[in-house]
Each structure stands twice: as structure tokens, then as C-alpha cells.
């Protein structure tokens, strides 16, 4: 068993202010491993400010961690040079939130697909390049004739997002980081995009990190889930267990607030505590304690992860009778 990607105690802090440094911990002591042999879809969920996009930026090597290491196939991604770096750039691909902002409006969509082919020398001739483009577009459920030669403004949001996935697929990636890929796409098209992502994992063996605040889609696409709140892991495990039977008060609140498209399943009764303006930034201990209905004295200290079952753990003192697990072993909880 070898690791495709490993987060080793990664912390990322953003500082601001010239005279008095104010620092915000965006991600605190995160460890995560992805196996190279068994491609899986892992969801990272959380609300705005939970650190989920920071995680994506770190994964892609766009920012450096304040402490800790990110290893790709055993090597720190920030020490990769030359060919190794190119390989990393090729094998780790991203699909971003806004399908409107990533296209250059002056070029036809062919440009977006031919550039990576040329850059990574994927094809020897023009016809081979064309074949590759057609193949990738077909794989994401687009008719090449419909999209090739068109300008971005002539395509719908769903089509553009699928072209982005096709571009990533062209490079035969090992890992795809999808940061809110469907949040700006019409609900009726979401299903198509999710199905495409799912197909990538099944048919092409791509591991996917699916970053979202939408637990409904997370439930449908992922195998495992990590719930973040203000940079800390609140709950993690098998997506079925966590969504159907959440244990951490924060996860409960999140799941209670999902507007299920089901007339017989109403929004929960759990009251949303505290106005946001009353939240103090610097609460020590459990980050959720200021909003938690079950808060205890003990919560002034940071709770460790308690193991609830083979594939579920929560970072909450309500479960302190359960054995703790080392945060570095988080990945053992996640089923593939």
C-alpha cells in the first residue's frame, strides 16, 4: 500500500495587520492520506470560513503550509523540481467553483484543451490531439460537435463545467480537486455533473477530493466525509453514517439545516444559537463551543477525536467515554 497524497500535521495561518499581527488559523493540524491503489471520493465539508478552500489551495501547491508537510508520492510538493514537478502538475488537477470565470472569452474552448496537450506533449500530431480531445469530451457526456469551435459565451454553465472536467481528464490525473463544482450550476444539471465525476472515479481510477458546503450532493457522490469548522475536524467517517446518523452537535446542526426536497421531511427544530455578531473570534478550546447547545466547562480545552465506530469519529467531549484516536490516523476511519 502506497500513499498518493499525504497531509502531515498541516497548519495554515493567515496573518494580517502591520503593527499588531492578527492571525487566523485557517487549518489546524490536519492529517489525511489518500491511497494510490484504491481511488475514492472524499468530501471535505464545512461552511464559509471552515478552511475547506485553504485545504484545496494547499493540495494544489498554490500556498505553502505554515507548518507540516504535504507529500505527493512520498515527496514534499514544495521541493519538487523539473520533471517531478511537471508530473505533479499533470497528475493533480482541479475543477473550480465558477464555470464562468475560468474561460478566456477571446478564445474558443478548443484553446483550453489544446494548451495542456501542447504543454505536456500529450500528442505527436494534430490528428492525435484531436482524437484525445474528442475522447475526453465524450467521456464527460458532451458531443464534441456541439462544443468544439464555440466560444465560452455560447455554452451553458453545465457544459462549461463539463469541459473543465474534460480538460482535467485529458491529462490522465491521479487526483482531482473539485472545489464546489456544482454550486453555480442549475439544479437540473447538477445530477449530470455529479454523475460525470462519479464516472471518472469508477472508470478512470481518479481519486477525487470533493469540497463543498452542500451535504446533499456530498452524500450522493462520496464514500467518506470530513466535516471542518474553523479549521478543525469536527466529525469524520463513512458518509452514510455521518449524514444519516450525525453525532457531533455541529454536524447535527448542519444536517438539520439541509433543505431536503421532500415535503414530508421538514427543517429541524434545533434552534440556531447566538447571533453571529456575538461570536468571539478567539474562543479557546472547542471552536464550536460558543454555538453549541451542550457546552460544558471541559469544552474550554480542545477535544481530541473520539472513535464512535469503525468508520466514524467526532471531536466532542460528549463522547469522551469512547477511545480517542491520534489525529494523524484520521485516514484509517475513512472507508474506500
Amino acid at each position: 500500500m502506497s500513499d498518493l497524497l499525504e497531509f502531515k500535521n498541516v497548519t495554515k495561518t493567515y496573518s494580517s495587520g502591520l503593527l499588531s499581527r492578527v492571525s487566523t488559523i485557517a487549518l489546524n493540524n490536519m492529517s489525511l492520506k489518500l491511497d494510490a491503489e484504491q481511488p475514492t471520493i472524499t468530501t471535505v465539508a464545512g461552511e464559509s470560513g471552515s478552511g475547506k478552500t485553504t485545504l484545496a489551495m494547499l493540495l494544489l501547491g498554490f500556498t505553502t503550509p505554515t507548518s507540516g508537510q504535504i507529500l505527493y508520492k512520498g515527496k514534499d510538493i514544495h521541493t519538487l523540481r523539473g520533471e517531478e514537478r511537471m508530473l505533479f502538475r499533470r497528475e493533480v488537477q482541479a475543477v473550480f467553483q465558477d464555470p464562468f470565470a475560468v474561460f478566456n472569452p477571446f478564445y474558443t474552448v478548443d484553446h483550453l484543451l489544446t494548451v495542456p496537450i501542447a504543454r505536456f506533449k500529450l500528442a505527436k500530431s494534430k490528428s492525435e490531439a484531436m482524437n484525445k480531445m474528442v475522447e475526453a469530451l465524450t467521456a464527460v457526456g458532451l458531443r464534441p460537435g456541439d462544443v468544439l469551435g464555440r466560444f465560452p459565451h455560447q455554452l451553458s454553465g453545465g457544459q462549461r463545467q463539463r469541459i473543465n472536467i474534460a480538460r482535467a481528464l485529458l491529462l490522465r490525473p491521479k487526483l482531482l480537486v473539485a472545489d464546489e463544482p456544482v454550486s453555480m450550476v442549475d439544479a437540473s444539471l447538477r445530477a449530470n455533473i455529479l454523475e460525470t465525476l462519479r464516472g471518472l472515479q469508477k472508470d478512470y481510477g481518479v481519486s477525487i477530493i470533493y469540497i463543498t458546503h452542500d451535504l446533499t450532493t456530498a452524500y450522493h457522490i462520496a464514500n467518506s466525509i470530513v466535516v471542518l469548522y474553523r479549521g478543525e475536524v469536527m466529525e469524520a467517517g463513512d458518509v452514510d453514517k455521518v449524514i444519516k446518523n450525525p453525532q457531533h452537535p455541529y454536524t447535527k446542526l448542519l444536517i438539520d439545516s439541509i433543505p431536503w426536497p421532500d415535503i414530508n421531511r421538514r427543517w429541524g427544530e434545533t434552534e440556531i444559537k447566538v447571533r453571529e455578531s456575538d461570536l468571539s473570534e478567539k474562543s479557546a478550546g472547542c471552536k464550536f463551543s460558543s454555538r453549541c447547545p451542550f457546552v460544558m466547562d471541559k469544552c474550554k480545552q480542545s477535544p481530541p477525536l473520539f472513535r464512535l465506530s469503525e468508520h466514524q469519529a467526532a471531536s466532542c467531549y460528549l463522547y469522551e467515554q469512547n477511545p480517542t484516536i491520534d489525529p494523524g490516523k484520521l485516514s484509517d476511519l475513512l472507508p474506500v
Binding site: 461552511e47 464559509s48 451553458s156 454553465g157 453545465g158 457544459q159 442549475d186 439544479a187 437540473s188 444539471l189 447538477r190 445530477a191 449530470n192 455529479l194 454523475e195 462519479r198 458546503h213 452542500d214 451535504l215 446533499t216 450532493t217 452524500y219 450522493h220 457522490i221 452514510d240 449524514i243 444519516k244 446542526l253 448542519l254 439545516s257 439541509i258 433543505p259 431536503w260 426536497p261 421532500d262 415535503i263 421531511r265 421538514r266 427543517w267 440556531i272 447571533r275 453571529e276 455578531s277
Partner: protein
């Protein structure tokens, strides 16, 4: 009970270089006081145009071609521009998409609220106006201290609630909310929707919620109207819509929704919405429809009323009726 809002045959056309696009193609709608209607549809189906047309805020190259919007017995389309200015906010209020970006960043929230009241009501004293503003803030769960704050000091959800507070200042009869929570996360979204729900009950206004999140609709509205290429394909009570949708497009829309029981099953709607410039003949949905018939390709289905206030535009049902 007389309806508080009545829309008759509303038509909007955008005149572009490539031709005329009929964004609203004769829409009828009736809403009683206190009722909540959800307006759903894909991008380009005309739901935002509908909101803008009701506010008479369509800008060129768009033009309102005809129809009536009657709020509380007053036809907005017949008003002079000055009277329409007065009617906005006092009769009909609009919470735009991404409303948090519509707050002025260099003016305090309070001053923006006072402005809104003064534009309609010059008689009141300063203290009285300020009191009304603070009450409105209080009713959306924001402290009175927000009155003195700037937009950047508030979080996304708080800004959205501040916009709701502005929209209810003059107790309008109709509130139109265009995707009020599309940029917010689930917990904040629920807070905002519960806020709209509460203030709506307090002032007894009718609410039109525009969006494409069917989940939100199931939780919030009483009636749902499904739009497609500028027409209402089906309008029914929220329960009927979710339990037994009739129109094939509505059926596909409901089937595409993720639920707890159908993990890993994705039922997207095949094809894409047609461009408004080249609408297919007959029923606009026929190229994507799973139950298409010969008549659908040539004849536009008439609007038919079923029991329970249900309205449909589909040949499948017109034959039986």
C-alpha cells in the same frame, strides 16, 4: 378573498442584434395575501425577468410588451414613472439576487434605511423614522447597533437580513426575493429563510421566492410555479408538485433531485434549454420531453385548469380535459 397580486398576460421581449427574444411569453399569476409562491426554472427560463418586469425595472434592450401587474387593486403598468417610484417598496419590494452586494459600502446601514423611508414619507420626525428602522432590524434578528454599522462589518447572512429589513420598512403587500440565499451556507440559509417567513407573517405580505433549489421550495413555499422558456408549465400546491407532478418537465425536475433514499442515482434532464432566439415550434419543451407526441411539435398546448387550483400547459392532459 381578493387576491393581493394579479399578473395578467405579462410579456417581455429583449431586442438583440440577432433577433427578438421573448423572455416572458404571456404569464398569468394570482396570489393571495400571506401566500408564498416559489418560481423555479433553469437559467434563462425567465424567472428573474419576471421579477424585474413586476417591479417595472426591465432595462433596454428589454421592453415590457403588454400585460397587467395588479397589486392591491392598482395596476402598476398604468402608473406614471413618479408614482411607480412611490409604489416600489411601499406596495411591492424586491430583494435582488446577491442582495448583500447591493448595500452601499460607504454609507451606514441606518442611513440607507432612513433614505428609503424619507423617499416615501416626508412627514415623519427623525426620531420616529429611526425607531421604525430599529424595529425592522430587530424583526430580522439584528441588533439595533447594526443601524450605525457599515456593510463590510456584517457577515453575508447579516447583510442579507439587513436587505430584508429594508424591504419590509414600508410594509409592502408583495415581496419578491430573487435567490436570496444562493451564496450562503446551509445554516445561514435556514436563518435567512426563517427570517423571511417570520416577517412575512408579521406584515401579512405575499412572497414570491425565485430560485432553482427545489429543496428550499419544499421547505418554504405554499405554491410552486415551474417556468420554462418564459412560460409557466405547471403551477400547483407544493405538496402536489412534489408528490405527484404532472408536466413531464416538472416530473423530470423532481426526479433529478437528490434524496436520502436514492443514493448514487443521478437522473439529470437530458438536453439543454433552448436559446430564446430559436425556440422550437409547438411546445418549447418537446425536444427534451420523454412523452412527446406529434401535436407537441406543431401546436402550443393551451393552459388548462385542473382541480385544486392546478394549472398546466401540456397536450397530455388537454385531451382528457
Amino acid at each position: 378573498m381578493t387576491p393581493v397580486l394579479q399578473v395578467n398576460n405579462l410579456q417581455v421581449t429583449y431586442y438583440t442584434d440577432a433577433g427578438r427574444a421573448r423572455a416572458l411569453d404571456g404569464v398569468d399569476l394570482t396570489l393571495n395575501a400571506g401566500e408564498k409562491l416559489g418560481l423555479v426554472g433553469e437559467s434563462g427560463s425567465g424567472k428573474s425577468t419576471m421579477a424585474l418586469a413586476m417591479m417595472r425595472m426591465i432595462k433596454p434592450p428589454g421592453r415590457i410588451e403588454g400585460g397587467q401587474v395588479i397589486v392591491d387593486g392598482l395596476d402598476l403598468m398604468s402608473l406614471s414613472d413618479d408614482s411607480m417610484l412611490k409604489a416600489r417598496l411601499s406596495k411591492i419590494a424586491y430583494i435582488p439576487q446577491g442582495a448583500m452586494n447591493s448595500l452601499n459600502p460607504v454609507i451606514r446601514i441606518g442611513a440607507q434605511m432612513v433614505d428609503a423611508i424619507k423617499a416615501h414619507d416626508q412627514g415623519s420626525s427623525r426620531e420616529d423614522i429611526e425607531k421604525r428602522c430599529k424595529q425592522a432590524l430587530e424583526s430580522v434578528d439584528l441588533g439595533a447597533n447594526v443601524f450605525k454599522m457599515y456593510a463590510h462589518e456584517l457577515s453575508g447572512g447579516m447583510k442579507q437580513r439587513a436587505c430584508i429589513a429594508i424591504s419590509i420598512l414600508l410594509k409592502p403587500k408583495v415581496i419578491i426575493a430573487d435567490e436570496p440565499t444562493s451564496a450562503l451556507d446551509v445554516v445561514t440559509q435556514r436563518q435567512v429563510m426563517e427570517t423571511i417567513d417570520r416577517v412575512q407573517k408579521e406584515i401579512g405580505a405575499a412572497v414570491i421566492l425565485i430560485g432553482h433549489d427545489m429543496g428550499l421550495m419544499a421547505q418554504f413555499v405554499d405554491k410552486v410555479a415551474v417556468m420554462y422558456t418564459g412560460r409557466i408549465m405547471e403551477l400547483s400546491s407544493v405538496r402536489d408538485m412534489f408528490v405527484d407532478p404532472k408536466h413531464p418537465y416538472a416530473q423530470a425536475l423532481i426526479k433529478s433531485l437528490p434524496n436520502l433514499d436514492n443514493k448514487g442515482v443521478f437522473n439529470g434532464i437530458p438536453g439543454m434549454a433552448p436559446a430564446l432566439l430559436q425556440l422550437p415550434g409547438g411546445c418549447a419543451f418537446h425536444p427534451r420531453c420523454s412523452q412527446v407526441m406529434e401535436t407537441c411539435k406543431t401546436q402550443r398546448p393551451p393552459s388548462i385548469a385542473l382541480s385544486g387550483g392546478r394549472i398546466l400547459e401540456c397536450h397530455l392532459y388537454s385531451e382528457k380535459a
